[in-house]
């Protein structure tokens, strides 16, 4: 058979790219620079796509966390849950994105304490986000110091206000304890770390409010 012309070779491109090699097509390609360029381009696209495919990305851990929460909410997961996990994830069930969950944390705790006002940071946000649970201790130590300072300035408050302060601090501390436990059980859980950071932040805010007023409830 005579060699293909360009039009015939173009019709044959799809099988050619799938590995078929007829003598007529080979002969045409040998003599036609335009079709050689075309084949070269398609092979370059194929090769670049293949390289792209080698680099698979890992979804962030929060995707599984949110998915699991949704599966539990829909009762697709039927395994009994641990108390900590159940409490922790039930609180954020149905929230698909950490930003929403963070907003939820802030809203819940803010309502609980009725706080609004300037915020004082007692630890470095980015350092925490970049770090691991090793930051739990320094952050907690800083908060403990701040708590002692705030409570010491509290001597002149009424017994009712003192009791209210301790009750609120206890609620936040319990919340922190549960978050810390979750983070320690699963250090790679970004969502849990975000929540723990939020809990620390809320405690810092509460203590800052107390110090600013010279005592809670004044």
């Amino acid at each position: 058979m005579p060699p293909f012309r360009c039009k015939e070779f173009h019709s044959y491109l799809e099988p050619w790219m799938n590995g078929e090699r007829s003598p007529e097509a080979r002969a045409h390609l040998r003599d036609c620079p335009d079709c050689r360029t075309l084949v070269g381009d398609l092979e370059a696209i194929h090769s670049s796509a293949h390289d792209w495919g080698l680099a698979e990305a890992e979804p962030p851990r929060r995707v599984w966390t949110a998915l699991r929460a949704q599966l539990e909410a829909e009762k697709i997961i039927r395994e009994p849950r641990t108390e900590t996990g159940g409490w922790f994830e039930a609180a954020f069930r149905g929230l698909r994105r950490p930003a929403l969950a963070g907003a939820y944390v802030a809203a819940v705790v803010a309502v609980a304490f009725g706080l609004s006002g300037p915020v004082t940071r007692h630890f470095n946000h980015q350092r925490w986000l970049d770090g691991t649970q090793q930051f739990t201790l320094p952050a907690n130590a800083q908060l403990t110091t701040a708590e002692q300072t705030a409570v010491s300035s509290f001597g002149e408050a009424t017994p009712d206000v003192t009791a209210s302060l301790h009750q609120n601090l206890e609620i936040v501390d319990n919340y922190i304890t549960l978050c810390e436990k979750t983070v320690q059980e699963d250090p790679e859980n970004e969502l849990a770390r975000d929540y723990l950071y939020g809990a620390y932040q809320q405690k810092a805010d509460l203590l800052a409010q107390i110090s600013g007023r010279g005592g809670y409830g004044r």
């Binding site: 381009d41 398609l42 370059a44 792209w52 599984w64 997961i77």
Partner: protein, 227 residues
Amino acid sequence: MHRTYGCVLAGSVARTRRTDTTGELPEAEAIRLAQQGDVAAFERLYHLHSRRVYSLCLRMVGNTAEAEDLTQEAFLQLFRKIATFRGESAFSTWLHRLSVNVVLMKLRRKSATETSLEEMTEPDEEAGSRRRDFGAADLQLSGSLDRVNLQRAVEQLPPGYKAVFVLHDVQGFEHNEIAEIMHCSIGNSKSQLHKARMRLRDLLHEALREKAREERKAAGTNAGAED
């Protein structure tokens, strides 16, 4: 990070649990346990397939936040239906069919029009204005094509072309698998792939020409400034 499954669960499920030599739950066993609502089995299936599904979504939508949501949605749909899985097709094929459908639905919603696969792959066939002079390339892609350029061009493909191209050339699926995933014939899959590559070639050449124009313009500006 994968968990080991040999001893983590209690109850009747744990008594019937079978693991492989690495202590990981085999896929078939994970499917069986997931059908009973076993959380560790769900997590195992998620870890087995999440990278590929997430990568597919990311390549299709080009946006990490959307890709995360789509990955979650695909697995959610999968786990909602897992009790009906009978193994007629490969589990990964089933999952990818769900994933592609989730992504295509998203892209359809984005364009705010309900379009068929044909429309998604042949949006301007009727106009016939697109250049078809296959051999008349003025610049060669070979040597100048990198992944960034390719990603930009892929983003401009119609959704149907994009799906077939990403599945075959990027993710490495065979045409028979794509036919099953996309609910089309093998011939159709081959044909769509070829058209997608040709469209990409046009887009990449246009990008090269645009770059060359900008370089000439910049050179002209610099020469003028020196005068």
